[in-house]
């Protein structure tokens, strides 16, 4: 077994430091939002987590295309890892969204286009996991996973688009409030800097996690191979 490469060790520490710095920025650097108060602080990591979620699923779809062309299982591992990470971050995104929504919109859940799309997206990738679970032949599992990662990712913007138009054509919906109106605020430069920095930090976190997950996958493959050799 190979030891953890030095570069990865460095990246781990850089990620941790950056993360601490981002947390500090959220609490001490960015100013308190006047109307919403402290709960608005969730916004920075909320957006950053959503960003990483989208990024992961995008990577997975691209990895899916490359897998189908090259049939190299390396790309399956990359795609699968990205989706696992994406699911976690999308979940963080949805949960922080709900935490924000509770005091601002007075409900844990609103049928806001973004929140709804994020949740449907999460369901697409739960379905992806179930698909993989249901197939025993590894090669077929990889192929089908790649296909579904592509089709699923394609449907995400279409879903968002549909829900968006759905709202604009019918502005008066049950529950009344237009979600973009309540809870909207003007960002000060300090807020914007904090947000951009959070997004950067989460992107670094994503790379770090991907690296770990791919290494884990490679070890799993290695174990499989050794088992097969024992059987022979």
């Amino acid at each position: 077994m190979k030891e953890k490469p030095l570069k990865l060790k460095i990246l781990d520490w850089v990620t941790i430091l950056l993360f601490l710095l981002a947390t500090a920025m959220v609490f001490f650097y960015a100013p308190m939002e006047r109307v919403m108060g402290a709960v608005q602080k969730v916004f920075y990591f909320h957006v950053a987590a959503g960003w990483v979620g989208m990024l992961s699923f995008f990577f997975a779809a691209v990895a899916g295309i490359i897998y189908l062309v090259k049939k190299d299982e390396k790309w399956d591992l990359i795609g699968y890892s990205a989706i696992e990470i994406g699911i976690v971050f999308t979940l963080i995104n949805v949960v922080t969204g709900a935490i924000w929504a509770r005091p601002i919109w007075n409900a844990w859940w609103t049928w806001d286009p973004r929140l709804t799309t994020a949740t449907i997206m999460e369901l697409v990738y739960f379905a992806y996991l179930m698909l993989r679970q249901g197939i025993d032949d590894p090669e077929r599992r990889q192929r089908f996973g790649a296909v579904y990662a592509i089709v699923g990712f394609l449907s995400v913007p279409l879903t968002f688009f549909s829900i968006r138009i759905f709202r604009t054509i019918h502005p008066v919906v049950i529950g009344g409030n237009d979600p973009t109106a309540v809870g909207a605020f003007d960002m000060t430069p300090l807020m914007l800097q904090t947000l951009l920095f959070s997004i950067l930090v989460f992107s670094v976190l994503f790379i770090d996690l991907m690296w770990h997950r791919i290494r884990l996958g490679q070890y799993m493959n290695r174990v499989d191979e050794l088992k097969m050799r024992l059987q022979d």
């Binding site: 189908l68 449907i120 369901l123 697409v124 739960f126 379905a127 179930m130 698909l131 679970q133 249901g134 197939i135 025993d136 090669e139 077929r140 192929r143 089908f144 790649a146 296909v147 579904y148 592509i150 089709v151 699923g152 394609l154 449907s155 279409l158 879903t159 688009f161 549909s162 829900i163 138009i165 759905f166 054509i169």
Partner: protein, 227 residues
Amino acid sequence: MQAKTSFIKALSAVIWKDLMTELRSKELISGMLVFSLLVIFIFNFSLEMDARTRNSVTAGVIWVTLIFAGTIGLNRSMAVEKDRGCLDGLLLAPVDRTAIYFGKSIANLIFMLIVAAIILPVYSLLYNNNVISLGLILVILLGSEGYVAVGTLLSSMAVQARTRDILLPILLFPVIIPILIAAVKASNGFLNGVPFNELMTWIYLLIAYDVIFTSVAFMVFDAIVEE
């Protein structure tokens, strides 16, 4: 000697075979129909469908019915191919894989439209209120096409999985939500007498979704059947 049987010949052979099989067994359409009627009846009692509620929910009820019945049809249509190893039989023939995909899709679309053609009059009859209009027919045509394009692709994956009984709706529903939204909104408009040009957005959207989903399915189908 030509290497491949021509696309049109292979396509029409697959459609002919599916229609012929269905003509014999009538399992697929009768299953879909009985199921559709049950869904409508269940909706009737669970939603207390008086005249006012009906106005707002009819489009939803029709589409939910079609989509649920559609999964039954799609599952059955692919199970037939898996039963006696027929899918391998199709793949052994010197034909384009896409001819098989389009053949199955068109046959599935025909089944869905037959079911729609029966349940719409029945719905009108049950509620003594004609829901059928040219606009609605157009929406059903477009919506079903997109649904079947994705459904045929995903059902050919689901049928090869160990968990094939439960997998299709789980894979299919989250992906076809954009189509469903557009179809329900457009149908709702036509049912409530909204003029055609105000609904064009949804119609265009449906056409765009159909084109996108059909072309992607067409591109990746090979990957599902080739080992």
